[in-house]
Subunit: 137 residues, 2 copies
């Protein structure tokens, strides 16, 4: 398989594949005489692993860790894998909480504003942001 074929079958760009190579996520199995990258089913499966891990929310850096473990499975433990997953989970939850605070504040602000066509001179969103005690939250 050449890079374009692999890219097409995965729905990613050739740039992405070269980028992953640079970042040690996927190495072609060989080069052709003319220097073209050559991939096998093995690499296809590895890319599928990478893409699934990304879908689940792992960053490329984390995917790299997981890949390393997956490749040398018997030198690593379940504990290790679960640890990475749990850490990511905590991170995601923290971010969700932050965004939920934003959501609370924004929806309260929006509720109080009439949203009408009159001038914003007394807009409650603006006054909430202006006043020291503006109840933004």
């Amino acid at each position: 398989m050449k890079i374009g074929e692999l890219a097409k079958s995965l729905g990613v760009s050739t740039d992405t594949l070269r980028y992953y190579e640079q970042h040690k996520l996927l190495t072609p199995s060989a080069r052709s005489e003319s220097g073209y990258r050559v991939y096998t089913q093995q690499q296809l499966r590895q890319m599928q692993f990478i893409l699934r891990a990304k879908e689940v929310g792992f960053s490329l850096k984390e995917v790299q860790e997981l890949l390393q473990i997956q490749i040398e499975k018997h030198q690593h433990s379940c504990e290790e894998v679960k640890e990475i997953t749990i850490q990511k989970l905590h991170l995601v939850r923290t971010r969700i909480e932050e965004l939920q605070r934003f959501e609370q504040s924004l929806s309260k602000l929006a509720q109080r504003c009439c949203g009408g066509p009159e001038s914003a001179d007394f807009c409650s969103i603006l006054t909430a942001l202006e006043d020291v005690d503006g109840t933004c939250n």
Copy 2:
């Protein structure tokens, strides 16, 4: 007020104030003879507005829009202000949903892995990521 005093009273760095100036969020009211930035109560209030808007989740670009409106209030409508708020709200909600999907997937993965000290040869997290039908979600 000089930049250091304003920074301290707001709990931000002087770098941040200069950055905001570059990005048209806050202009000092004047310069001293020696070229120092001079700020008044007016700028202090404007910075408080900016910081409150940021706390609520607005990006600096959005804050800039809001500031423009706040400064020329009577040339703008409640509708406009509410629109910006609602748009941000939608964006935040979309992001929350995405993260919640991540959370779902990750917690299911984590639940299925025993997390023990044995080798990861049969780790269910890895197999879920490997298999085409691995139930990652």
